[in-house]
């Protein structure tokens, strides 16, 4: 099986089945690699916008009276602040951490890692991307309509979100557009999940048994199942909310509401019903955001420790356990919602239980490092950073999992710190790790190592500087989604912390410019990369960088061994690719070391 480097003059290959036309090749391609890149760049655009929104928020929290040039009228109003909160959350959750790790890297590398030429349903795949892009544009359009973007948060609780703009600015057309965008996103996700699951089940190369799948594939597979089940529920909930807003139904709206002096007719619905439906989706959603990153971390750790993943089967099982348990915990977002307090205890126990597979994964990552030969290339640094943040964020969750403690911490900045560290940092570090790791494969060039390391140090320090203090704001009673601190008197004392976080946020955001520069420059001027610059074992490294259009240049692989055969005792090389047949001097199964 040849793996010579191809001339890297063309950064991106032609789509399968298409002729030379630019549109067909780069825009309307059914090639999973192009689609993966399209999702990746969509996520990059989304994270840039999302980050700018958050910087506006952080700026406003410290200088609420400042005149901002881009705002009509100059000073940011509370509803504009809340619109930023809503859109920042929506864009980041849906179009960054749900998109890049799964649809971006998963689309590109799942077929490669299992030895397939493409996803099972390439045209459906293309449709999924375009629907996702459409959803993004529809959601963004909420900024530009009368009333502006919605102010109900990414969680859109009715009645605030369910009655049109009598509850507040942005709740009219803005909320409707937001809802429509989310519904389109749901469909796109469902179609994508069908592709991922079917591909993993049916398109594996000969020899690629379930126990030989890289953990990235396991992660994408479990995530796709979560996606299928969770987004279907969000889709249903969103339809009901749309009907409440536009058709006069009352699924979520109680009777006898008086809003802005107006007595509303109809009713009998339950705001808690929305919360249950939303969080039934919302909790698996956060696992959708993190699981691919966990897979990537395992994959990278093995590669750069030159050791197999410690407890491969446990790791695969833990992914499944987290996925399954993740459906049983949604009530921990609702401890103080008015839900039956007995259910709270049940949800609490289950939430604490999911800490077990999560902790097991952390221990196994440490076990992978232990006794290794650690190489601190940039992907490895971000993978290690992921572990640090996952530990911090996971442990802060142990407080929130207990209803008695949540009674104090709910809706404070403590919660914001917790979910930012796990989603806004760990998941993002997973994306960074994946980008640095797979960049040579995708573009046939290497990213600059010095810049990568600098990016890591600054970002690592920067995000801890932003989010560690945030816990203390919450513990002291700083409430989230507050446009400023002019309400309750005790809030003023927390301003120094807000100031520190804002400065840290701006500096950390600036540090990301290093990444963008590195990414852009390396795509065209980076040092050419070989097929397997990391001396890795999985199938994507057995082909040229970048890969040929049909992935394997007609020479389809057969898989002979587990995915992380690094530093095998009987082997002269310190890695054994999955596709190398035993007779090529590589040890057979009997000659290998311990059983798994």
């Amino acid at each position: 099986m040849s793996s010579e480097p191809r001339p890297s003059s063309a950064a991106v290959q032609a789509g399968s089945g298409g002729e030379a036309g630019l549109l067909r090749r780069y825009l309307f391609s059914t090639d999973h690699k192009i689609i993966g890149l399209q999702y990746f760049f969509l996520a990059l655009a989304a994270v840039t916008i999302g980050m700018i929104l958050s910087l506006c928020m952080r700026f406003h929290l410290v200088w609420p009276g400042a005149h901002l040039p881009f705002l009509a009228g100059g000073i940011m109003t509370p509803e504009q602040y809340l619109a930023l909160v809503t859109m920042h959350g929506t864009i980041m959750v849906f179009f960054v951490v749900t998109t890049a790790p799964q649809n971006g890297f998963g689309n590109y590398f799942l077929p490669l890692q299992i030895g397939a030429t493409d996803m099972a349903f390439p045209r459906l795949n293309m449709l999924s991307f375009w629907l996702t892009l459409l959803a993004f544009l529809v959601v963004l359009s909420a900024f530009f309509v009368p009333g502006g973007a919605p102010i109900s948060g990414w969680t859109a609780y009715p009645p605030l979100s369910g009655m049109g703009d009598i509850t507040g600015p942005g709740e009219g057309i803005g909320q409707s557009l937001w809802l429509m965008g989310i519904l389109i996103f749901c469909v796109a996700s469902l179609l994508g999940s069908i592709n991922f699951i079917s591909t993993t089940i049916d398109l594996r190369a000969p020899g690629m048994t379930l126990t030989r799948l890289p953990l990235t594939v396991w992660a994408w597979f479990v995530t796709a199942i979560l996606s299928l089940l969770a987004f279907a529920v969000l889709f249903a909930a969103g339809i009901l909310l749309a009907l409440d807003r536009l058709a006069g139904t009352s699924f979520f709206l109680p009777a006898g509401l008086v809003v802005s002096g107006q007595l509303e007719t109809g009713g009998g619905g339950s705001p808690l019903l929305w919360q249950h439906l939303f969080w039934f989706f919302g909790h698996p959603e956060v696992y959708i955001a993190i699981l691919p990153g966990m897979g990537v971390v395992s994959h990278i750790l093995a590669n750069f420790s030159r050791k197999p993943v410690f407890g491969y089967r446990t790791m695969a099982f833990a992914l499944c356990a987290i996925g399954f348990l993740g459906f049983l915990l949604w009530g921990h977002h609702m401890f103080v919602s008015g839900m039956n307090p007995y259910s709270s205890l049940a949800f609490s126990v289950l939430t604490l239980t999911i800490g077990v597979p999560s902790a097991v994964k952390t221990f196994n990552w440490l076990g992978t490092l232990w006794g290794g030969k650690l190489q601190f290339q940039t992907p490895m640094l971000f993978a290690l950073g992921f572990i640090s943040f996952f530990v911090t964020g996971g442990l802060s969750g142990v407080f929130l999992a207990q209803p008695a403690l949540d009674s104090t911490l709910h809706a404070t900045y403590y919660v914001v710190a917790h979910f930012h560290i796990v989603m806004g940092v760990a998941a993002i570090f997973g994306i960074f790790a994946a980008t640095y790791y797979w960049f040579p494969k995708m573009f046939g060039r290497k990213m600059n190592r010095a810049l990568g390391e600098l990016h890591f140090w600054l970002t690592f320090l920067g995000v801890y500087s932003i989010f560690l203090p945030m816990h203390f704001v919450g513990i002291a009673g700083g409430i989230r989604r507050y446009a400023d601190s002019t309400g309750a008197n005790y809030l003023g004392a927390l301003q120094p912390l807000h100031g520190f976080m804002t400065v840290a946020a701006f500096l950390t955001a600036a540090a990301q410019l290093i990444f963008f520069y590195n990414l852009g420059r390396s795509m065209s001027k980076g040092e050419p990369a070989s097929a397997n610059p990391w001396n890795a074992t999985s199938l994507e490294w057995a082909i040229a960088s970048p890969p040929p259009p049909d992935n394997f240049a007609g020479c389809f692989p057969t898989v002979y061994r587990a995915p992380y055969e690094y530093s095998l005792p009987a082997c002269p090389q310190d890695f054994l690719p999955q596709h190398l047949p035993p007779e090529h001097g590589a040890p057979s199964k009997q000659e290998q070391g311990h059983a798994s």
Binding site: P159, L263, P308, S337, K373, Q402, A404, S407, Y482
Partner: protein
């Protein structure tokens, strides 16, 4: 693959230093109590704080071990030309640390049950003072039943804040004639309270930090919370559930006063 040192410091050292920095700053800020929660003013709040401290020690210990373990592993096993140890796993070790984690986490949860149950499961003590808290965009209104001890009927069609009827007291219900409606909550110290929360429009929340207690106020529902404040003072009430553009301005005050002062307050209010 030989590791190439970057500049003057190997990445392993820089990573270890950063991790130690993170751990130390966290420990420092917690120990120095630079931004502590305000002192608890009820027995249940004290229970909550105890559970919080227990959780802090357990998770803090895990945090220390994990972050420093990561730093140690990075340093000890950085590539200095050694061979990696080929190990697939260790089932016994995995069983051990899984069980330990399960025991600690579920143990924490079990221990914390009491603090939750005391507030949420127990019915009001006989002789508890009944108050009703109503939320609406963007204020709180508290209602006492007055001399007859009965709350008057409420009907949203009567809601008229400018006319002094923010709650919609039904004028045809005599039980409501003596109801006291105020914008700040005054309560006697050391008396059990049942506070029933309601909302007129969207979901709001009632939160007093010192009580370590918050509860959403949901339109269409009446949700009781019970507590006994054991210290006098004035404490802030805030809304924590996003309720619209005035969310950050929605706040009130809880005045915990002596029994005699409370009686005086009620007398004054009835007279008005």
């Amino acid at each position: 693959m030989r590791h190439r040192a970057c500049g003057s410091a190997e990445p392993a050292f820089v990573l270890a230093i950063l991790l130690i920095l993170v751990v130390s700053s966290t420990i420092f800020i917690f120990s120095a109590r630079l931004y502590p929660a305000p002192r608890p003013i009820s027995r249940d709040a004290v229970l909550v704080d105890r559970q919080y401290n227990l959780t802090l020690y357990a998770t803090g210990g895990a945090f220390l071990l994990a972050q420093l373990g990561l730093a140690y592993a990075a340093l000890r096993f950085r590539d200095r030309g050694q061979n990696a140890r080929f190990v697939r796993g260790n089932v016994a070790l995995e069983i051990l640390w899984s069980s330990l984690t399960l025991f600690v986490f579920v143990g924490l949860g079990t221990l914390g049950r009491r603090a939750w149950a005391d507030v949420r499961f127990t019915p009001p003590t006989p002789g508890a003072i009944h108050v009703e808290g109503t939320t609406y965009q963007f204020a709180f209104a508290f209602r006492y039943p007055g001399a007859d001890g009965k709350f008057g009927r409420l009907d949203p069609s009567f809601i008229n804040p400018p006319a002094g009827n923010p709650l919609g007291l039904d004028p045809n219900d005599p039980a409501g004639a003596d109801d006291i409606v105020v914008s700040e909550l005054t309560l006697p110290v050391d008396r059990p309270i049942e506070l029933v929360l309601r909302s007129e429009d969207v979901v709001h929340n009632f939160f007093v930090r010192e009580l370590r207690l918050q509860q959403d106020a949901v339109p269409g529902m009446t949700i009781p919370v019970h507590f006994t404040a054991d210290q006098v003072g004035t404490f802030e009430i805030v809304c924590t559930q996003l309720c619209g553009l005035g969310h950050h301005k929605m706040h009130s005050l809880l005045h915990v006063v002596s029994q005699s002062e409370f009686d005086a307050f009620l007398q004054r209010a009835i007279a008005q």
